[in-house]
């Protein structure tokens, strides 16, 4: 029983996390190596993946990852997966689209 409304307890969280992190890493491969998003997300995902692989106990895994309950971690991983797919479309690592017009952000005027 999670303490949260709307999040059911997940049977077999390790398996689910493993699948999700593998998918995230696969979608990150499509981005160029020097993209900052790819670097940091890979670092994060690999770290969590290692925790998942080494720690079979759910409670200790939650403490190691330090991201709330396991169901929350699963939800976050699903979000990260959808984000990485969208990032592959938007390509945020490209240089700036357009410079701001002069004095746009000047405050006080």
């Amino acid at each position: 029983t999670t303490g949260l409304v709307g999040l059911a307890v997940s049977q077999n969280p390790h398996e689910r996390l493993r699948i999700l992190y593998a998918k995230i890493l696969a979608s990150l491969q499509t981005m160029p190596q020097d993209a900052a998003y790819r670097k940091y997300t890979e670092q994060l995902v690999n770290e969590r993946f290692d925790h998942v692989k080494t720690e079979p106990d759910v409670v200790k895994l939650e403490q190691k990852i330090n991201g709330g309950q396991i169901e929350e971690v699963i939800f976050q991983a699903e979000c990260e997966l959808s984000l990485s797919r969208k990032m592959a479309d938007w390509k945020p690592w490209e240089p700036l689209v357009e410079e701001a017009p002069p004095n746009q952000w000047k405050w006080p005027i």
Partner: protein, 221 residues
């Protein structure tokens, strides 16, 4: 850091993080902030706009986000002028719905005062379409929200007068409410409240160096 093609300037004003974006990047940046593990800004606190008439892109659209996981706030700013539509953030945050309706109609009369005094936005409800006329593309339901049914005009722009144009309404022999042009009992008095002393000494413009005048070379005789 991450969406590099979007950021222009990152400024922290008294410990608040603000991120300035190009208007094309609204949806990518907001989804990034919502979904990424290091920045779970799931809550949209506010969506407002600021009218600065002297700028080329008049309106500055501001998104305030909160992360419950990391207990931090962030502000995302975009700019637009009167005619360019901005992508709607309703697909990212459902809360933006009414805020965008308000901004597209409503606006902030006191945005300038807000900055000087340092207090928060005046109106925190459905705004922006109603009050400004900023058009949000892909918005599911862009209707007026705070103004009256037949109201023309965008109240919160800086060029809209305090009393409005067609505001006096009273019951007529027609036995209904009628819109008439405004009749003010007293002439509008504009006070000049500017102090003769400099207000922001830290933001002084750097003085241009006076042009050096060279002494004319002595003519050779």
């Amino acid at each position: 850091m991450m969406p590099k093609y979007i950021q222009q300037v990152q400024v922290t004003c008294y410990n608040e993080l603000e991120v300035m974006i190009h208007p094309d990047g609204v949806v990518p940046v907001l989804t990034f902030l919502r979904d990424h593990t290091n920045a779970q800004f799931r809550n949209m606190i506010d969506l407002t706009a600021v009218d600065v008439p002297s700028r080329q892109n008049r309106f500055e659209i501001v998104y305030n986000l909160l992360s419950l996981r990391y207990n931090s706030r962030i502000r995302v700013k975009t700019y637009t002028d009167e005619l360019t539509p901005v992508d709607s953030s309703v697909s990212v945050h459902k809360a933006a719905n009414w805020y965008e309706r308000e901004v597209s109609h409503r606006g902030f009369a006191n945005a300038g005062a807000r900055r000087r005094v340092g207090t928060d936005w005046v109106c925190v409800w459905k705004q922006v379409w109603d009050m400004y006329g900023v058009f949000f593309a892909n918005h599911p339901d862009l209707r007026r929200i705070l103004t009256d049914y037949g109201f023309e005009g965008h109240p919160f722009r800086k060029d809209f007068p305090l009393s409005g144009y067609v505001e006096v309404r009273y019951d007529d022999e027609l036995k209904r409410v009628v819109a008439e042009p405004v009749e003010l009992a007293q002439e509008f008095r504009k006070f000049d409240l500017n102090t003769p002393w400099e207000v922001f000494p830290a933001y002084r413009e750097p003085k241009e160096a006076p042009p050096k005048l060279e002494a004319p070379a002595p003519e050779k005789k």
